[in-house]
Amino acid sequence: MSDYTKLTPQPTPDTQPYWDGLNAHVLRLQRCADCAKVRHYPRPVCDACFSMRVEWIDASGRGRVHSWTTTHHPFHPGFRPDLPYTLLTVDLEEGVRMNAQLRNLDPADLRVGLPVRVDFEPATEGLTLPVFVPDR
């Protein structure tokens, strides 16, 4: 799908399991293999114990709205057809946050603490993006 004009990630060996997980419709998070602190976004060192030993866990995908914005201005031509779109910042059950677009809810109904869960949208070949939907 060479007509995909949005920005695409360039995974590294440190982050590839996250993207592989999304393609398998699983939200994977890094966890320190020594002190078990979950961290996001993926990175080489645990900031609690400085261990570089990493394991990956399957997250529940459930969380609550922390904040949001609805974008009306075309900052990038690839996203112009989506305008307006709403970006959620979500507190995941595992104690970290993530950022993804909202689906299946009027942004006027958003509030802090609203339960949401992650869903998965194929974007282009080899790329699946997370989105959030209401967790009813």
């Binding site: 910042t89 950022n99 790329l127």
Partner: protein, 380 residues
Amino acid sequence: MSLQEVGAVTGVGETQYMRGTDRTPLSLQLEASLRAIDDAGLKPTDIDGVIPYGHGAVAEDFVTNFGIADLRFSATTPMGGASAVAAIQCAIAAIGAGICNHVLLSIGRTGYSGGRIGTRVQQMPQFRLIGEFEMPSGAIAPAQLYAVMARRHMELYGTTSRQFAEIAVSTRRHASLNPNATMRNPITIEDHQSSRVISDPLRLLDCSLESDGGAAVVISAADRARDLRHRPITVMGVAEGHPDSPSAITQRPDLTTLGLAKAAPKAFAMAGVTHSDIDVAEVYDCFTYIVLCQLEDLGFCKKGEGGGFVQDGAISLGGKMPVNTHGGLLSQAHMAGMNHIVELTRQLRGEAAAQVPDAEIGLVTGYGDMGDGSIAIMRR
């Protein structure tokens, strides 16, 4: 060694600010630099340290253009919009260490005519994490990333868009008094409320300008500053601060607290002054909300009370704490806060276009790269 009163601003310079030019950023940066050096009463060859703003001129450009025979110090302070004020700390540290005597801080940019500022984040290495994990979902520009902070503040504390508007209106009023401001037509709260939504809750008039121009400042050793052209503006206290999760706002424990909250207490302690001593504040204003948040992080009011603090003309000339008396990034020009240092210097010299009567002590802040902060407190 404390940096208290080790250095002083001795020269400031600006080009004409524009929205449209065929000049190069380097030419604008060097013109502003020559003006600042002349303002100090120095010759270009007297400059023995340079801290250029990132993505522009490099140390070699100053040696080449100014014929500096013995450049003793060069550095950059890569903190986005916090860079210019952080460079004051860097300059004074170098001066205090005895490395150099006159350090030139400068910026030149064609933010309007060249690469537009709003989308430049994509190319910046400090944004690698959001580049991989947020931009593919459409979170690309600072306006979007900061809108989430503003929304959180509104939800937690009841802050309103009309309170953001107070900042835009006051700043424009100051710009209307400044011959070197690019946006000088006064605006009203209603103009702000009817401006188009960029990324909710931020509207067009919450956002800073994209500008062409240059600005520069000379920082000199205090003992070399006394014999120069102007009364030196002494740096009493200076600090930089980096927020938790500096590379990804999403992961920051408290979205409503910036790196400035770590820097401000250090700078006030170094300066030995309190908030009631501050006569004027030039506060980095890439977006209206960022001003409100910094006023809290500076300690002028408690967290959550910034909306009330900025109401009813309190931050306008004649109010209890005049803020951004030059028109700021919102209405003068976006010179990444170098213009804020220029303005504070002029206020404390008593030569500003919108002068706070008898201003003796003031502060200037920087903010950038998703939350880095910097502050300098100065006196005449």
